[in-house]
Amino acid sequence: MTQTPLHLVAALDGAGWHPAAWREPDARPRELLRAGYWVDLAAEAEHGLLDAVTIEDALNLQSEDPFTPDDRTDRVRGRLDAVLVASRVAPTTRHLGFLPTAVVTHTEPFHLSKAIATLDYVSTGRAGIRVQVAARPDTAAHFGRRELPPVDRASAATGPLVTELFDEAAEYVEVLRRLWDSWEDDAEIRDAATGRFVDVDKLHYVDFEGRAFSVRGPSITPRPPQGQPVVAALGHAQVPWRLIGRSADLGFVTPTDAADAARLVTAVREEQAAAGRAEETVHVFGDLVVVLDDEETTARERLARLDERAGTAFTSDAHVFTGTPVQLADLLADWQQAGLTGFRLRPATLPHDLRQVTRALVPELQRRGLFRTGYEADTLRGLLGLTRPANRYAHA
């Protein structure tokens, strides 16, 4: 039986996803805000032929608990705007896709739309965006335009506020997509005879009217090379899965095992169908934190050492895989059978666990016919098997 290759994305964040990652011998904790650090990580991801990297972000300092700030001094704190990191790194790469995180709760869809369109120009067709909702009251206080209550943990995934914020996120993505289409591909005509630079009939007002914002358009930036850059979102529950089903090209979910993976894929597919998008390609990738070494015992010992330094056993919203790249390949192949089309791997430490992915996991998957042996496309959509979409405003 011919295997369908799977897709791999590396999730970049600080020194890695383990809170003690920055204390590892190969970590570069004083360079986390330097361009060279990110250039090197992207080069490593591209060396491994990965589809893309995600770059985490938020409009507040990192904290141990995702919903409340803390005063810890033993964890990485402070970071850079992820879209700008992606743009700084993109010209140093040729094939890798970029999916920086952007908060869509307090920001302007008009600004983000042109920023991602521009990232697509800068990378000649390798841009996407991972949209993220910000429910924290301290984040809202940085903007002072809306008050949000403390996050109610019991209803953190389903409460009316969460539903409202995710509905707003769906409207936000709709505005991004309309603005990306607001210029037809051949709108620029440079007609010296009439003195006209553009054909104004090929520029379109988007006239979006929503609850939180209305946007007239058109964008100030012409349609990006991919037409529609890739939109991704992470979801742990029904409300965010609905956002993926309605709005995304790529969803990240957090299964605990193969059966759970099947359940999550079904949940997203149902939302996709409910949104009338059953015929469209929507990827569902499984998120995993990975602690990888050549021997399983080495990986376990390393995790134990990291946990000891962190002062607490590491837990995550995603399954934490500890073992060898070969064992991880077994797991990925198994979960792929449950319907996942790819994986977003979160290296516990950087660069160690990223290098384990690119230099050990990838060759193992290649041996099994489960991963590309060379980049087969020039754009992120191309790598993900997505066609360049027709413009919604173009006359048939």
Binding site: E24, P29, R30, L33, A35, V39, L59, N60, P69, D71, T73, D74, R75, V76, R77, G78, R79, L80, D81, V83, L84, V85, S87, R88, A90, P91, H106, T107, E108, F110, H111, K114, A115, A117, T118, L119, Y121, V122, D138, T139, A141, H142, F143, G144, E188, R190, G195, R196, F197, V198, D199, V200, L203, F213, S214, V215, P218, I220, T221, R309
Partner: protein
Amino acid sequence: MTKQIHLAAHFPGVNNTTVWSDPASGSHVEFESFREFAQIAERGKLDFLFLAEGLRLREQNDRIYDLDVVGRPDTFTVLAALAAVTERIGLTGTINSTFNEPYEVARQFASLDHLSDGRAAWNVVTSWDAFTGENFRRGGFLAQADRYDRAKSFLQTALELFDSWRGDEVLADADSGTFLTDPHPGAFSHRDRFFDISGQFDVPRSPQGRPVVFQAGDSDEGRDFAAASADVIFSRHSTLEAGQAFYADVKGRLPRFGRTHDELLIMPAATFVLGDTEAEARDLAHEVRMAQVSPATAIAFLEQLWNRDLSDHDPDGPLPSVDPLVGEHTIAKGRASVRMHRDPVATAHEWRAKAEAEGLTTRELIVEVTGRQSFIGTPATVAATIDEHVQSDASDGFVLAPHITPGGLGPFVDQVVPLLQERGVFRTDYAGTTLREHLGLPLRRTDGESAVAS
């Protein structure tokens, strides 16, 4: 003492200075154009490159204005990418204070400053129009009278955010496990009638402490704003006499704000046309002006003053005999220049008198009144003129706006810059790594005091 000249390059923008119909004119959106432009500017050791911004496509007669270049990329995103393909040149972007929030803009500029190792600069502009506001959450919310007050508050708030990290908080000592020396870094709180925000800023102090701040206002209020808080002021006064008057006025305001003469640089925008002889340069300059003012562009300019639909007017005939419509401007939207016509009827009478006296058609008149190039001549005369302007305190340098994208700057860099270097008034290589060092501006300390750059 001989002053050192500061030079910058303005990426050809969305206005009729840019000649898109020239066969040499490239894309205004593709990154390759920006890369080439930036690398030419860096080859010439220029202080910085500059990107303008517009947040809504301009309209005239309720249609998108299509006679100039239309469309541009996002300022921050292009500047971050340019940091990857350049090493020293400053990266200046125009960012509107009306349709943004301080926390977000501050973290973008702090990020850009980190990612470029200290080369970021912010041209703070302000607007109030509801037309642009239609693209944003806030909408057209600001009264015209409040725009400088809000811009001041916005800049002040952003400066507080930049200064919220002292610069010594990140220790990252793996052995002791101490990442931060301060458990609550970046704390800020700002309350006034425009912003009520508090919390912790999440980008540690950047190499320059804060980006270099540019301002472009020309009104009395705008000049005060710049004198109070800008590091560099753009102006439009590129003639010697007007430049000297502006220079003396703005520098004279500095003591009132507790600042010294050297803490604010004045850099007018300037265009140039070079030729092997003076006559050749003059001919070329006329050709360029005719390309900048096509027959359709001449009518469009006419409508901007007349505030009427003049689409049936003959560009090769005399000016309209009717007077401009006075009152709310309805013809042209999304451009700042229409506000410069403060008394349109009087201006129309002046134009008519000039056209009749000199026998000019409408298009020829528009070519005359909408500005010839700042510097026209051989490389030697242009170098001498620029040096004279700077040494006689008409400016501290110029922001050059070539009319061809992306290669239009090349002749200046290759022919004029070496002459300025020979005169000893322009650097032969970058002495420092940050834009603040290129400009000779004081370094910023965290306490808001300035220290002299070493």
